[in-house]
């Protein structure tokens, strides 16, 4: 709070002084010449500093994207194939079920993520005792260290009633073996829980930071007017967090459509009770490395990319991400 008020003060002090009031002509010309010279150096420096990054951006951002688009619209011999690759993957018997799997997972995960991250951030932000709020954030954040294969591995144990720390919960739900826990109809929930467990803490910390940026005067005024915590949350804090929620939605959506390591490991651990073609990304992998059909694989990647970008557009529009306050 102290730093914020001092920031305000310093920005108030640094109001620009009007320039050029008493400059004489020769001085002005000299200054201009000097400025041009500096700008030229400046520009060269900009290119130099950005050059390495530009190189990587081209090599691992732009070229792969263009290459994927090229592959998706050509045949294996390199001739133009129109939408044949897309027709082929749409007709693949695994495609539609996989779309369903990924969509179900995304729906459960995104809704859960938005509701619980916002709720927990509001609660943690409302805690007066500093140590308690800090500890809570740290506890929530720690699972973020276990991403990818490690977290799935840990959750294999947690989901196996034979060894699980919460086996009483699993048994209470009528689940006696790992294979029952990870039966196909449970998987979207299982993946959503794993993803939430690893990712939510980071977002809670980010939302907490966003909440800290809301001016205390506004909150204070609302409180004096008799608003309670719930009213403040809905009429002040939530609207101010809108952009951050949209940002979280986009990032999570983009990552979620790419579901790969979770079903891959579960498939391995369940002796293929979970198929190795559960998600779209797995299907793309199978196309490329088992069927040697890179064109079909690229077509799936493009479909995923377009879907992710299109859905992101919804968040951008609803969250007003590109509006200026």
């Amino acid at each position: 709070m102290d730093t914020r008020s001092s920031n305000l003060k310093s920005s108030a002090l640094s109001v620009e002084q009007p320039v050029g009031a008493g400059t004489t002509r020769p001085v002005l010309r000299q200054a201009l010449r000097r400025k041009n010279h500096l700008d030229a150096n400046h520009g060269k420096m900009g290119y130099a500093f950005a050059s390495l990054y530009t190189l990587l951006l081209v090599a691992f951002g732009i070229v792969p994207t263009l290459y994927a688009i090229f592959l998706a619209f050509t045949s294996s011999s390199g001739s133009f194939a129109g939408v044949a690759n897309f027709v082929q993957i749409f007709q693949d018997y695994r495609f539609l079920p996989d779309v369903g799997h990924v969509a179900a997972f995304l729906a459960i995960w995104l809704v859960g993520l938005v509701i619980f991250v916002v709720l927990l951030a509001l609660i943690v932000h409302g805690i007066r005792a500093r140590w308690l709020s800090g500890t809570a954030r740290f506890l929530f954040y720690i699972p973020g260290a276990l991403a990818g294969a490690s977290s799935v591995m840990l959750w294999l144990f947690v989901l196996d009633p034979a060894v699980s720390p919460v086996s009483f919960l699993l048994r209470a739900m009528g689940l006696q073996t790992l294979v029952q826990t990870i039966s196909p109809q449970h998987l979207p929930i299982v993946f959503a829980v794993i993803a939430f467990w690893t990712g939510a803490g980071g977002w809670i910390v980010i939302m907490y930071g966003a909440l800290n940026n809301i001016s205390t005067e506004i909150m204070e005024a609302a409180r004096i007017d008799g608003a309670n915590a719930v009213q403040i949350a809905f009429s002040i804090q939530l609207p101010m967090m809108r952009k951050w929620i949209a940002y979280m939605g986009i990032m999570s959506l983009a990552a979620g459509t790419q579901l790969f390591v979770e079903p891959q490991l579960l498939s391995q651990a369940s002796n293929a009770v979970v198929g190795n073609d559960y998600s779209l990304n797995q299907l793309a992998y199978l196309y490329a490395f088992q069927q040697n059909n890179f064109n079909g694989s690229a077509a799936i990647s493009i479909v995923l990319l377009v879907a992710a970008l299109a859905l992101s557009a919804v968040f951008v529009a609803r969250g007003g991400l590109f509006e200026r306050d």
Partner: protein, 306 residues
């Protein structure tokens, strides 16, 4: 003043609001406890599990301590797997993650500086493309990058993971935000007028001031590199080149409890697998513990503020 008004409003609301506030507090406390348990139980369980034998793991209380001998036995069985493969994997992970981290810093910090504080013709375009590419999930491009790397004949080389890891647009974006909001342009201009070269302005003035964002980019880059599974899984065919994350799946494949067909080949018991999971995340957890102050205070949010 804050405290005064707060006390005043509290007193006013005491009569009608006391009951509802009590239920509110109970609700808040309950939510906190339930979620704290949810986030922490698996990790606590993992710590206990590494000290147990397979029988103890199945038969005893999940939160009971095994024995030091149990931990040692699990460690030995883990180290014995494919004659010390786990050391190789950890070494590989460290090499890939750190090499890529260094490259990321060398590439992203100057780029962020250039985008924020210099003028050149492609600046806007570069910025927009960076933002768009940030939205593309990195797994989406793994297969095309595989084909590209294949064309240059680098499949199976460490470069096949280090180079793609080093492309970290999020880091560039963080550096850009930091340089454009936290470094006063006047300061740089003053250095220029005092005769400092363009490179000197960056190296002597801007870079020392950017220590927090360098740490932040390093942190995110390291964690992401260490945890990446899909890219090395596709790029590196032989076990001697696996990073730890991919190695874990080899261990899983040799665990009879999860894969009955693995009985013959040097089997891995469940507690040893739990230990491997812990070992695979230990470096990241250590980095987390050291960075928790700046992470948890919400600095991440401040630095990406629009």
């Amino acid at each position: 003043m804050t405290a005064l008004t707060e006390r005043g409003s509290r007193r006013a609301g005491l009569s009608q609001g006391a009951v509802s506030r009590a239920t509110g507090r109970t609700f808040v406390g309950l939510v906190l406890v339930v979620f704290a348990l949810f986030f922490i139980i698996p990790i606590v369980w993992l710590l206990f599990a590494t000290t147990k034998t397979e029988q103890q793991l199945v038969g005893t209380n999940p939160f009971s301590l095994g024995s030091f001998q149990g931990l040692a036995a699990n460690w030995n069985s883990l180290v014995g797997f494919q004659s010390g493969a786990i050391a190789t994997w950890l070494g590989n992970s460290a090499f890939y993650a750190v090499a890529a981290l260094v490259l990321t810093l060398v590439v992203s910090i100057p780029a962020g500086y250039a985008l924020a504080l210099t003028e050149f013709r492609l600046r806007r375009l570069l910025l927009v493309v960076t933002l768009v590419v940030m939205l593309i999930p990195n797994t989406a491009l793994v297969l095309p990058i595989f084909l590209e790397i294949n064309v240059v004949g680098l499949i199976g080389s460490p470069l096949s993971v280090i180079l793609p890891f080093s492309f970290f647009p999020f880091g560039v974006y963080l550096a850009y935000i930091y340089f454009s909001t936290s470094i006063p342009r006047d300061l740089l201009a003053a250095a220029r007028i005092d005769g400092c070269s363009e490179f000197g302005v960056f190296a002597r003035i801007a870079l020392p001031l950017a220590a927090p964002v360098v740490a932040l980019v390093a942190f995110f880059s390291f964690v992401q590199n260490w945890n990446n599974y899909f890219l090395p899984f596709v790029m590196l065919p032989s076990s001697s080149q696996y990073p730890m994350q991919v190695g874990l799946t080899s261990l899983l494949a040799s665990t009879p409890a999860f894969n009955p067909s693995a009985l013959g080949t040097s089997p891995i018991q469940l507690p040893a697998l739990a230990l491997a999971t812990l070992v695979s995340v230990a470096p990241v957890i250590i980095v987390f513990l050291f960075s928790q102050r700046f992470l948890v205070t919400g600095m991440t949010a401040g630095s990406t503020k629009e």
